[in-house]
Amino acid sequence: MQRILTLALCCSVILLQACKRVTEQTLSETTNGAFKVVVRTQEISHSGTRNVDVCVANASSAGFPDKKVQCFLSGYDFDGLSVKWQGPRVIEVSFSSGRVSRFTNSAFVYPGGSVPEAFHTLLCDGCGSALPAKAEGGAVSSLQ
């Protein structure tokens, strides 16, 4: 009986993992000198909810940053999300509406050594125009 239960539980976990797949993903970048801000939008399992993560990374790096210290905003269902470099180490994220699950006003990048580069981040809720995610103040590229 116990084995059947364990087997059923394992099958459920596998099924749930299979169901939780990214059905849509976009990456947009705002480059400023040697660094860039990467905005990732993901939809999981056609849920209709757009999860957004915003991180800072080396301009030369590929893909989305994997270190948590590089990321300063997580949320979902943003309207008019906009990223702007206000200075070499200052980033402003603005949006007209949306849910912020986690925001921190600093982020760090290790550009090839043990000394981190610190970035200061600002949040402006209700500031963006009611348009889809937009990046400003640098080279922008979108990947799908």
Binding site: R99, V100, S101, R102, F103, T104, N105, S106, L123
Partner: protein, 137 residues
């Protein structure tokens, strides 16, 4: 042999627990009808670092233990100010400080048939002001 180890373990646990207590703590309440925003400032081990938590709760409750009721966690804020903009909107502003976690929504559900949601906006200003939590309305 086992008894001294257990005793040492208990003593260590006691010491560690007492070390985790704040050496200084203050809670400021910013009330608005049936709800209030609690601004808690804590210092541990006389470290000089002030940990700050900003949470919403029922007016007759103490500082909430439920993290979903909290908007902000950070440290070393100057000019921290909390203001009610409306029944469900809170404005949090400060001149300088480290935001470790901010969420622009918080939910109070304990003792309520339906959860009550609050929205918060965060403003970081450059000009230094006095470190207060002001009462609005």
């Amino acid at each position: 042999m086992q008894s001294p180890i257990v005793l040492a373990g208990c003593l260590l646990a006691l010491v560690l627990t007492s070390c985790g207590r704040p050496t200084e703590q203050s809670v400021t309440e910013v009330k608005n009808d049936a709800f209030k925003v609690d601004v808690r400032s804590q210092e541990f081990h006389d470290s000089g670092i002030r940990n700050v938590d900003v949470c919403v709760t029922d007016i007759n409750q103490g500082f909430p233990g439920d993290k979903s009721q909290c908007f902000l966690h950070g440290f070393d804020f100057s000019g921290l100010s909390v203001k009610w903009l409306s029944d469900r909107d809170v404005d949090i502003s400060f001149s300088c400080g480290r935001v470790e976690k901010f969420s622009n929504f918080a939910i109070v559900s304990k003792d309520h048939p339906l959860p009550v949601e609050f929205h918060a906006t965060l403003h970081e200003a450059c000009k230094p002001v006095s470190n207060t939590a002001s009462t609005a309305r």
